[in-house]
């Protein structure tokens, strides 16, 4: 900001000519209007509104005028400069908008290009399936119990009322570790976790035990020497078969959909008495017009697992007083449940480790 020119020559003062000021203003406005881009407008700004522009120079002259002329000249130049600045601002806005619009168009990309630089990973459905099951039970206030895969024979069999000569032992073909006299097996069921739980904590017991089990089955589309089960165990006062039914109905509805329930058929398991097979209402046909249903093969029901009231002999072997407590237990295959839940026809899909299999489950499980 330059100060007023005090070194004017009072004699040679010429009042700023209105025509000159207006000409300078018009020239500026024309140049502004003619600037076609922001670059050109920058030059126009320098030429017509910069420090050395005619109007700026004229403005500087005002101080040299005799006082009586200053007011008029000041008004004239001020108005002209105001009009120029206003025009500059307006033109800048227009050109910036144009520029932005053009830039956005120029920067357009093909958003359909692939973006799969790092291949997708995924967790195994047997893991997420077991977690889904765990969450269902944890939300009921249960806990998730676990045990080792290589297990003591006594825990896998004897404690569960499967004595050495029990015919039921022949139903489960067991992997024995060497030497067999050491009585250590690969667990054939998740049930030893029941025994472990009762041996290591006091009732009330509400636990689910998802886990891996082994049997000497040849490996084919429906059999595997290794598969997965989930076991449930409740030991509390006043527990009945009705609580078992209620729990399994709840489990079925959470895992397979609202309205899916279960039915019981008499069966035999050494560790439960009474024992039942539990069937799941087919979640595809829901038992209505089942004949064409491929999931339940026309049955309306799907065999799901085994269950029953904990045999008091098991309670005794594990140190629970059968006079005070009753319990229920159930077990079902996780692999099998997922097979019919997802229409998987070959059990081996779970164990091949093919990286195309896992991502298909996404976040559904």
């Amino acid at each position: 900001m330059s100060g007023p020119n005090t070194e004017y020559d009072p004699v040679e003062v010429t009042p700023l000519q209105a025509e000159e000021v207006e000409a300078a203003r018009d020239a500026a406005l024309a140049a502004i209007a003619g600037a076609s881009d922001l670059e050109a407008l920058k030059q126009v700004r320098l030429d017509h509104a910069g420090d050395r522009s005619p109007l700026a120079l004229a403005n500087r002259e005002i101080g040299a005028l005799p006082p009586q002329a200053r007011k008029e000249a000041g008004q004239r130049v001020g108005q002209a400069r105001g009009a120029v600045n206003k025009a500059l601002a307006a033109r800048t806005e227009v050109l910036e908008a144009e520029h932005e619009e053009r830039m956005l168009i120029e920067e357009t990309v093909d958003v359909t290009l692939p973006t799969d630089r790092v291949p997708t990973g995924g967790r195994h459905p047997l893991t997420t399936g077991a977690e889904l099951i765990a969450d269902i039970f944890v939300s009921m206030g249960w806990e998730i119990a676990e045990g080792p895969l290589i297990e003591a024979e006594w825990l896998n069999f004897d404690a569960l009322n499967l004595g050495p000569d029990h015919p039921a032992r022949t139903m489960q073909d067991t992997f024995w570790t060497e030497p067999a006299e050491n009585h250590v097996v690969l667990r054939t069921q998740t049930s030893p976790v029941q025994a472990r739980t009762m041996l290591t904590r006091k009732p009330p017991i509400y636990v689910a035990c998802p886990g891996r089990v082994f049997r000497t089955d040849e490996y084919d589309a429906t059999h595997s020497p290794m598969f997965h089960q989930v076991e449930g165990l409740v030991v509390d006062e006043g527990i009945s078969m009705a609580h078992l039914k209620g729990t399994l109905d709840h489990f079925a509805a959470r895992m397979f959909g609202e309205g899916i329930d279960t039915r019981f058929r008499p069966s035999y398991f050494p560790f439960t008495e009474p024992s039942a097979e539990v069937d799941l209402r087919c979640f595809v046909c829901r038992g209505v017009d089942s004949d064409a249903c491929r999931t339940c093969r026309g049955e309306g029901w799907i065999e799901w697992g085994g269950c029953g009231v904990v045999n008091p002999r098991v309670l005794v072997a594990c140190g629970v007083d059968p006079e005070t407590y009753t319990g229920f237990a159930f077990g079902m295959g996780i692999d099998r449940s997922l097979m019919f839940r997802h229409g998987i026809t070959d059990l081996r899909s779970f164990f091949e480790g093919d990286v195309r299999f896992t991502p298909a489950f996404g976040t559904e499980l």
Partner: protein, 841 residues
């Protein structure tokens, strides 16, 4: 167990309108589960009738064959009553024979439609059938592969439906019989449950008028009364060994899945199916002296009916005569006294055996017989006499024999023990209102004798007790809860209501369970796919990993009965099967495989003793429980990762990138960060990794695992893409190192001071060591440090490298002065110089 419906109905008077489906539904609800319904005749439709061959003209043909041009009387079945002209190529029949004729309009198994057609110069209007053409076993009805010729005494007239005679109208139910329901292995037992289910009258085949026992029968000495509580012996003489098994019996045996052999054998099998009581028949002339039931002596030998010479154990129960053992009691008879085509005198044995002994002998000698199956589950001890009598009856009736006087009965039927329950126990256990009358009726329905005892307890409260004596055919009913199950299966399992138990006050997932989920999500988020492998390996897998002979990982838990002799061990490392999985993916055309697995491995425990077998009538002590746990191998949870081939894809953005050592270590670091664990990465040498590209992963000075590039030989052995990398660590240990509570930094809003330093060090100085020195030297003002460049040049020399680090310095309470920043930087550089010989570039 397979049972023809008509046979079941012989003992239970079911209303005619009860369909097979209704029957199986009911039996399934009672615990005899339907496996399948077979209807052998279902594939045959249209007229299938009895025909009498009237004429048979043999006509040689140009092709060398001779055909028979027959006329056959089919009664009115053809609508005309005229003889039916049929061409037949078989020759095992003649005029006058009764045969099976399918008339035009009929369809045979396989969709084979029959119509009148011109052939060999005649119009053949139908077909004379062989067994195979009707879907029957080839040798059924003496067919021997040819036309079925019906017995001359067949009651059916020409033109009548032949299906009932052939058993083709039969439906056969296959039941899955649980091990506790031995009674389900008999028609008697199945019919009894059917009677129970439909409240229909039951006629027990064992309900017979029996001859009194005396001393005139074949002498029997039972030396082991516990092993053989009841032994019944009967004899018949004058048996005609040429007598044939009647068709009805043969077809029932066949339907039940047993092969007809000879009349005498078939009768014993038939009665076993009928009553559930296994019977053995001896050729009485070959038996020398008294039958003696005893345990075998060690080394005694016996050749059983299957031709196998067996060496007996002192636990085997045998039947011996003066010559030594002649049968493996209750399991299989012996060769020397076997009934043959010349047997005319039959000694019938019907005995009850102690189930456990049967089970052990069957297991020891690997014999699975129909008799053994029933004896080891426990047949009805009270059925011995009736079954023997029934066999005698049939041998007389069908084989022309005469029952000899003399009925040997040794021992007596053990009385089942009474079981007492509170009358409301069924109701309490079922969670369903079941009044006492209903419970009593149900128990009586299944054959129990029930007494109701009303008592007043010490507290003055009246309590009803039920004292139930189970029937002899239910050896499985021994416990109070067994009675509950019996009541419930009669009341109906479908009556149990659905009630949720009370809300439990659980503590949620354990820390380990939560962290495992976190680990899985982290790895999946890093682009890895989780896989599930079997834990079985063989030493060859360790060879492929290049493990030294004394590598501890070679010491495994071995399986006594592996599925494959190639993989008889439980693995100590996840890598072999994980590498195989990665290779399989590549072989299937994947450009790369980034896979991980979390699973337990088994590390044998030095000096672990056997896992004891404790009694089960009481809880083992704490010390005993500990002993059980201590007998098991250590089973830590491991994480295995294999990164093979393409890690980043090529694309419009540029080149792709194959996985290498750094990717494996990056996974470990990412995991450690996720878990909040301070992970130290240290150069290491360990198979199966590349000795120059392997890192030990250390936490708190302890090595938890290794990561890096695989040894080129391992890459080759597993057929993996070059530079494949892997990681394996003890996940249990890593998770245990995660802090219980995270302590977040205090966030300073004062300006950050950024300082870069480039340090020249010898090639073999690890970057981590330089970084550690800088970190320590910079002191507490250091907010973070990051290596951003490694530079090598001729100028530096081949054994030197330049490492460039970016330091960020900041204080929590003030803006740092230039002097402070310089001080920290100088301190860092000075310590790096001192510790690592670093010089500023």
């Amino acid at each position: 167990m397979k049972a023809p419906v008509s046979w079941i109905r012989e003992y239970v008077d079911l209303p005619a309108e009860v369909t097979t489906e209704a029957l199986t539904d009911k039996l399934t609800l009672l615990g005899l589960k339907l496996e399948a319904i077979e209807s052998p005749g279902a594939a045959i439709t249209g007229p299938l009738v009895v025909g009498r061959v009237l004429t048979q003209d043999k006509e040689p043909q140009k092709n060398g064959k001779t055909i028979n041009w027959c006329t056959v009387d089919v009664g009115d079945a053809n609508g005309t009553g005229e003889p039916q002209g049929i061409v037949c190529g078989a020759h095992n029949f003649g005029p006058g024979d009764l045969v099976c004729v399918v008339l035009p309009g009929g369809v045979l198994p396989g969709g084979f439609a029959i119509s009148a057609r011109k052939t060999y110069g005649h119009v053949s209007a139908g077909m004379i059938c062989s067994a195979a053409e009707l879907g029957l076993p080839e040798d059924a009805f003496g067919g021997a592969g040819g036309i079925i010729v019906l017995p001359a005494d067949t009651a059916l007239q020409p033109g009548s439906d032949v299906r009932p005679l052939l058993g083709l109208d039969e439906e056969i139910i296959e039941f899955e019989v649980n091990p506790d329901r031995a009674y389900g292995l008999s028609l008697r037992g199945i019919a009894r449950d059917a009677a129970l289910g439909f409240s229909a009258p039951f006629s027990d085949p064992c309900d017979r008028v029996l001859p009194a026992a005396d001393d005139a029968g074949h002498p029997v000495v039972v030396e082991d009364e516990a092993g053989c509580p009841v032994f019944v012996a009967r004899t018949v003489a004058g048996f005609d060994p040429t007598a044939e098994t009647p068709d009805w019996m043969a077809s029932r045996l066949t339907a039940a899945g047993m092969r007809p052999i000879s009349l005498a054998v078939d009768v014993t099998n038939y009665v076993m199916l009928e009553t559930g009581r296994p019977i053995h028949g001896y050729d009485a002339e070959k038996v020398a002296g008294a039958l003696r039931v005893r345990r075998a002596t060690v080394g005694e030998k016996l050749t059983t009916l299957d031709g196998t010479a067996r060496v007996l154990s002192e636990q085997d129960l045998v039947i011996a005569d003066d010559s030594g053992p002649i049968g493996l009691a209750g399991v299989m008879g012996g060769e020397t006294t076997e009934m043959s085509a010349s047997t005319t005198r039959v000694l019938v044995e019907s005995a009850h055996w102690e189930p456990v002994s049967m089970f052990r002998t069957g297991k020891r000698h690997k014999i699975s017989s129909e008799a053994g199956k029933r004896n080891e589950r426990g047949a009805d001890p009270a059925s011995c006499e009736a079954a023997a009598d029934r066999v005698v009856e049939l041998l007389c009736e069908l084989g022309g024999a005469t029952a000899e006087p003399g009925v040997t009965v040794v021992g007596s039927v053990p009385a089942p023990s009474a079981i007492t329950i509170a009358a409301d126990l069924p109701q309490r256990v079922a969670g369903l209102p079941i009044d006492t009358a209903t419970a009593v009726a149900a128990l009586e329905g299944v054959g129990c004798t029930v007494t109701l005892v009303a008592e007043v307890g010490e507290d003055g409260v009246p309590t009803n007790r039920l004292v139930a004596v189970p029937p002899t055919w239910r050896p499985d009913v021994t416990d109070p809860f067994d009675l509950v199950e019996e009541v419930l299966r009669v009341v109906g399992y479908d009556q149990v209501p659905s009630v949720l138990p009370r809300e439990a006050a659980g503590r949620g997932l354990t820390r380990s369970q939560r962290l495992r989920r976190r680990v899985g999500r982290t790895l999946a988020g890093a682009g890895l796919s989780e896989v599930v492998c079997f834990p079985f390996v063989g030493q060859a897998a360790f060879d492929k990993l290049g493990l030294e002979a004394d590598d501890p990982r070679r010491s495994t838990v071995r399986l006594a009965n592996p599925l494959s002799n190639e993989e008889p061990e439980y693995t100590t490392t996840l890598l072999p099967n994980l590498l195989g999985t990665a290779a399989r993916n590549v072989a299937r055309g994947a450009a790369g495989a980034a896979v991980f697995e979390t699973a337990t491995v088994a590390i044998p425990r030095e000096g672990a003793g056997p896992a004891p077998i404790y009694p089960t009538h009481t809880r083992p002590t704490e010390a005993e429980v500990e002993q059980l746990f201590a007998a098991l191998p250590a089973q830590p949870l491991h994480l295995g990762v294999v990164l093979a081939g393409e890690r980043e894809r090529a694309g419009w953005w540029g080149e792709g990138r194959a996985a290498d050592w750094a990717d494996a270590i990056a996974v470990a670091r990412r995991l450690a960060t996720e878990l909040g664990v301070d992970l130290e990465v240290v150069a290491s040498v360990r198979q199966p990794w590349h000795p120059g590209r392997c890192a030990a992963l250390r936490v708190g000075g302890r090595t938890l695992g290794h990561a890096g590039e695989l040894h080129p030989r391992v890459v080759k052995a597993f057929d993996l893409p070059a530079r494949a990398a892997a990681l394996e660590l003890d996940l249990d240990a890593l998770m245990a190192a995660a802090p219980e509570r995270a302590v977040p930094p205090t966030l300073s809003t004062y300006p950050v001071a950024k300082e870069d330093v480039a340090l020249v060090v010898a090639e073999d100085v690890p970057a981590a060591q330089v970084e550690a020195a800088l970190r320590e030297g910079a002191g507490e003002l250091l907010e973070s440090i990051r290596l951003f460049d490694v530079y090598r040049s001729e100028q530096l020399g081949s054994d030197r490298k330049s490492l460039a680090f970016a330091l960020r310095l900041r204080a929590g309470d003030r803006t740092l002065t230039d002097d402070e920043v310089k001080g920290a930087r100088d301190g860092a550089v000075a310590l790096a110089a001192e510790r690592c010989g670093a010089t500023q570039r």
